[in-house]
Amino acid sequence: MASAQATENLTVSKEDDLVLVRNRARFHARQIGLGLVDETKFVTAVSELARNMLTYAGAGQALIEQLTNGDLKGVKITFEDHGPGIADLNLALTDGYSTTKSLGLGLPGARRLVDDFQIRSSLGEGTLISIITWKR
């Protein structure tokens, strides 16, 4: 089982928090020794998901964890909000689908940038998304 070594919990409730979450995600990605390309992909995915949460739920929490699984090291971030939830997850994960005027790349784009992508959502209760990138 993967165990969490270092964790950090952040609140995302305004635009400036996006910068903070990106910076902290980058810090933890560097700490586990991710290469620059994987670091950039992870931070970009974090930016998409954090902005999504801000746009659709208004606010939420971001939990960053450094993972160890045997010799493997990874960085994980979990976004949890108590917003309206996502009615159709398959649709939300489709390229170009958006209920706002965005490009509709947030979820599908972020999913393509990381090793592991988990999403749970229930209408009226909120959404939980976690992503992991392992050090190669």
Binding site: T44, A45, D95, S102, L105, G109
Partner: protein, 127 residues
């Protein structure tokens, strides 16, 4: 935060914008407006957007770059994005972000060359 500005420099017939550090969403939006005003109020024939200082371009910023490019084109000036970091380019492609209408060059010098060629082509089309 609100006082933060991105300087827009006039370089001959072109405008040079160097984006560095953290790109807040509001800063991105303000840059769009200020840049278009500057294009309108000067005789700029092209815009160079230097993003070598950006360590990440997400879909929001990508859309902003595309919007700037299409808007300046309507105003008769091409936009070239220069200096994109390799890791940023790889990420953009892998996430599936397309940057419609954006011209790119390795650095400012090559960006200027590209704009000059574009403008020459345009003159001969009209010629």
């Amino acid at each position: 935060m609100a006082s933060e500005r991105i300087p827009i420099l006039k370089m001959g017939e072109f405008l040079l914008v160097t984006i560095q550090g953290e790109m807040h969403d509001s800063l991105a939006t303000r840059l769009q407006t200020e840049l278009l005003e500057k294009v309108a109020n000067s005789d700029a024939r092209g815009v160079l957007l230097d993003i070598s200082g950006l360590d990440m371009v997400d879909s929001f910023m990508g859309r902003m770059l595309s919007t700037i490019a299409s808007m300046t084109r309507i105003m008769d000036a091409n936009t070239v994005v220069v200096g994109m970091q390799p890791a940023v380019a790889i990420t953009i492609v892998e996430m599936g972000l397309s940057l419609p209408g954006i011209l790119t060059a390795m650095d400012v010098e090559r960006g200027i060359e590209l704009l000059k060629n574009k403008n020459r082509g345009r003159l001969s089309e009209h010629g």
